[in-house]
Symmetry: C2
Subunit: 192 residues, 2 copies
């Protein structure tokens, strides 16, 4: 009997405003063996977001029910909205031999490090705190208050990451084209 | 008049025992536009080391004279032996359009960050302190006392690096083949 090779789990963590969504989209487009695990969230969809592609948009009570039954690989409460990675979906892909890309924050990555220590952990860091602030402001989808909150969280995360023995690769994301080429190389190298 | 494109400076820092010498040798072999800057040192050559290829082996008084006249991009006193990167040699390569690879320790990288902030800084980290110790012992060229000293310096460096805003890329070097592929990708991406 042939035993199919299992997929790998790639965890990319980054603060808001580091361009991680754009990078993930590019990687997924060009690499047919890489799939993104779609997260569940209780926050409302932003313009252009599609249920089941960008997120599974679920109610808070549904989220809490699934969390209680151990249905999430990691989960977080971000400014009162819940986010979580459904365990079953990741397992299904990995068993099917596909590599899974998880786009989660630092707290989430810490949880995955605990449950899936063999995953590959990559952190995208902003070039500087000033640049991070500029990028958050430029995004334009958030209120001033929310930008400030995100900025505070992001700088706290950066600090936490410096102490962290968690990540296998840390990339300062100065230029999306460069970061993209290097992420691609990391995924290829890990398949060696 | 044609103005020739200047080369880039790649600074690779790693503690002893992370395999940086092997990695650099591979990169230089396959990439003809990449040259290694040969450092000066006052320590005696190890078996197999060639003057002018591995190091310029110079006397302490010669080293101090050149240091005083600002001849080094960075320099260090490691366990009583001096190491330094000759400024002129790096400048000559860069003006000639070649990319220069500097293999230096964290303290040296800090000095270069100050004088050449646009250089690309890469740090190779050992997977764990235990693994670092094992690798240092395995090398077998150093006495027990020297291994212990190197280990102490290396763990101090690791700690310093966690706080450092210095490096553009940090790679945990679990597997030489992987680290090599990713270093190559970084060099190519930075040329984009």
């Amino acid at each position: 009997m042939l035993s199919k090779k299992k997929g790998r789990l790639f965890v990319i963590s980054a603060s808001s405003g580091t361009g991680k969504t754009t990078l993930a989209r590019e990687l997924l487009k060009e690499d047919k063996n890489l799939v993104q695990s779609v997260s569940c969230t209780t926050r409302p969809p932003r313009p252009g977001e599609v249920n089941g592609r960008d997120y599974f948009f679920i109610t808070k009570s549904e989220f809490l029910r699934r969390k209680k039954s151990g249905g999430f690989l990691e989960w977080a409460n971000v400014f009162g909205k819940f986010y979580g990675t459904p365990k079953k979906e990741v397992e299904r892909h990995v068993r099917g031999g596909r590599d899974v890309l998880l786009l989660i924050d630092v707290q989430g990555a810490k949880q995955v490090k605990h449950t899936e220590p063999k995953a590959v952990f990559i952190f995208l860091a902003p070039p500087s705190k000033e640049e991070l602030k500029r990028r958050l402001e430029k995004r334009g989808t958030d209120s001033k208050n929310e930008i400030l909150k995100r900025y505070r969280v992001a700088t706290r995360e950066l600090k936490a990451l410096n102490d962290l023995k968690l990540c296998d690769y840390r990339i300062v994301n100065r230029d999306l084209r460069k970061a993209h080429a290097i992420l691609r190389a990391i995924i290829h190298a890990e398949r060696l």
